[in-house]
Symmetry: C2
Subunit: 82 residues, 2 copies
Amino acid sequence: MSFFEYFSRKKNNSASIAKERLQIIVAHERNKLKQPDYLPALQKEIMEVIRKYVDIDMDCVEVHLDNNGNCSVLELNVTLPE
Amino acid sequence: MSFFEYFSRKKNNSASIAKERLQIIVAHERNKLKQPDYLPALQKEIMEVIRKYVDIDMDCVEVHLDNNGNCSVLELNVTLPE
């Protein structure tokens, strides 16, 4: 699955949600399978960077990690405090 | 423009590109206009985190920053060395 297929799978469901949100997507498209996947480690460090700018409640972070063929996608969805 | 509209605008053009790639997208959907936008500062720090894991040539990084209504989207496209 390519980056673009991943993103185009998304449904437009944001109209019903008025909260302030931050979404971080890191997609790694590899040309060889079985390379080490560093996205889980990256996730923690990216969250630390973002916490310098906004006050994030870790209970309000949804994490998804998808591996599909040669494409790994890390998705972080953060609902920000009002 | 919501996150999902942004992503669904993407065309599937990856079939022609066999290189190893990394794509980072940070989307901030605000509930008020005129809040400070910290995405440009975040960009530099996220690149520094990623450089701990992969050797990135900064000439191979494309940066796009979109502001549209209450949604700011930072997109980093990195072609990784072979």
